[in-house]
């Protein structure tokens, strides 16, 4: 534990020192929520004035449609919808960066220094997980503060517990996916592998989850994929805590995510140590 904290401190110091990277890490999700989120205006879609229908029927139709959209998205504001999803997606992206940093520690020789030190090898892995946790915590906080200014519709009567719940979800995603990327990184010598892998899985993971669009409106085959995607549970839960969108089973979704994160953590720790001892 002590060793993990020593190494975690290094991760944090390095990250904080890289100001441009820090800035980009904040700007990229902002693009998503501000440009993509704001440009897709659900309310405007409903506000068409010239429906060729009697006024009362048009009114009823609009009422029905907005209720339907609200039940699908949990909000009539797509910006609010996607922002809660992006918190989860960027947790995934930050996890990938930890994988890349593992490869660099190897290539730049730093890992050799750690491997010859009298420390448990799992601490090297855990420090990478901790590094992602630190980053996503800070970035999520900043992102939410900016989103608040830009009109994020928090649920009524939101409490600190809700925020803690959302943080827990983001942290579980970071833990799970950092475990995956880091443990693979301990087995490869080239950071391109991690980038290629991330390119391969990040988009599908993002679009087969409820992070960007609701699962309910997906074709059935896509829905059946989404059920196995941790990001679906994560995005639903963040939305539950921050926006107040109902989830089918709070305990079930949380359990699914906890199982994913802890399994990934355990397997990741084992696989990482194996990777470190590889010739």
């Amino acid at each position: 534990m002590r060793e993990t904290l020593i190494l975690l401190r290094r991760e944090v110091v390095k990250w904080v020192n890289r100001r441009p990277v820090l800035l980009i890490s904040i700007i990229t999700p902002l693009f998503w929520i501000l440009l993509f989120g704001k440009s897709f205006n659900l309310l405007r879609l409903l506000s068409s004035e010239d429906l060729p229908l009697p006024a009362s029927i048009a009114e009823a139709l609009r009422g029905y449609l907005s209720a339907y959209i609200a039940s699908l998205f949990g909000t009539l504001d797509y910006f609010t919808y996607i922002t809660s999803g992006i918190l989860v997606v960027f947790s995934l992206f930050q996890s990938m960066f930890s994988g890349v940093s593992v490869v660099f520690d190897k290539r730049l020789g730093y890992l050799t220094r750690l491997l010859v030190a009298p420390i448990p090898r799992t601490s090297i892995f855990l420090a990478k997980v901790g590094g992602t946790l630190f980053r996503v915590t800070l970035l999520s906080l900043i992102l939410l503060m900016i989103a608040d200014v830009a009109g994020f519709e928090f649920k009524e009567g939101i409490t600190v517990l809700d925020l803690a719940g959302a943080w827990l979800v983001v942290a579980l995603v970071a833990t799970g996916f950092t475990s995956v990327f880091a443990s693979i990184a301990f087995h490869v010598d080239n950071q391109e592998v991690i980038f290629a892998l991330a390119n391969l899985v990040n988009l599908p993971l993002m679009f087969t989850s409820s992070a960007i669009f609701p699962v309910e409106q997906m074709p059935e085959w896509l829905q059946s994929v989404a059920v196995f995607n941790p990001l679906t549970y994560a995005a639903d839960l963040v939305r539950y805590f921050l926006v107040g969108k109902e989830v089918a089973s709070l305990a079930g979704s949380l359990a699914a995510l906890v199982v994913f994160a802890s399994a990934a953590l355990a397997i990741g720790a084992y696989a990482s140590v194996r990777g470190m001892e590889r010739d």
């Binding site: 020593i6 290094r10 220094r113 009298p118």
Partner: protein, 333 residues
Amino acid sequence: MGGYAIEARGLVKAYKSLVAVRGVSFSVRGGETFALLGPNGAGKTTTIKMLSTLTRPTSGDAIVGGYSVVREPLRVRRLIGLVPQELTADDEMTGWDNVIISARLYGLKGRKALEEARRVLEFMGLWEHRGRKVATYSGGMRRKLEIAMSLVHSPEILFLDEPTLGLDVQSRRHLWDHVRMLKREGVTIVLTTHYMEEAEQLSDRVAIIDHGRIVAEGSPGDLKSRVKGDKIYVELKDPTEAGRVLEALENVLGSDGVELGTVGQAIVVRVPDAGSVVPKIIRVISDYSVKSVNVVKPNLEEVFLELTGRSLREEPLDAPRFRMHMRRARWGH
């Protein structure tokens, strides 16, 4: 710990496509400086990696500081310091940060960690530069930082893998001084090098390693005495005359217990003592057009050549090698 700080017993390391170390055994006494001398690819680094627990031997074992590298690697790690061939400092951080992280990883806490970090940075002459990012350090400074990081926990045994590789002459000599200081403090040092001068200068004992095996072991003096006598290299301006010169030399020197031969384009005369023979040789070759005459006293380079038939630099025995000899040759009296 008894008399030995390190006892390597039949170390073997086989990778998928090659066997890097084929049964290496040696012992290093506490406080001794021991050099593994050999060309690139001889198995020096792999041996160091096994001794420092970075890689597990395929077979064999080594007792380092009283513990088995195979069964008790964590205990071994507490006692040793390793300066690997590659640079390992994080160049995005300052020298100070790098050393302090090392100190803490070795269990030094609070004030003690700060004191030890300061001690090693001062020892290596980096104290004034501690606040600079490592990326701004020169090659020599980076090497020194590597050593500082490896010394912060006061290891009993220090492994130096090619410590002066790529350094200029001045930095190299400077680093040697540091190694000698550590030796005086009683640190057991194992270093690898393919510079014979480095092995001669620093070590009490040398093991010459080639193709994953130790081919000779002893003090630099012992090893040099295995090369019988001096060598005189004669390079002619016109190499085609070599045959005739050899014949002439044979007539004059035949009874002096000399061996004659050629190495690449040069004629080589091996004699017990060059001093008395050189005048005779000069007389013979004065009839020909001579580019150079070199007398080479026994050195580890020659020992290696003798034992393996190859030079330490793995260059074919031709002009480049000959030039190297010219640089290294010590003239007879």
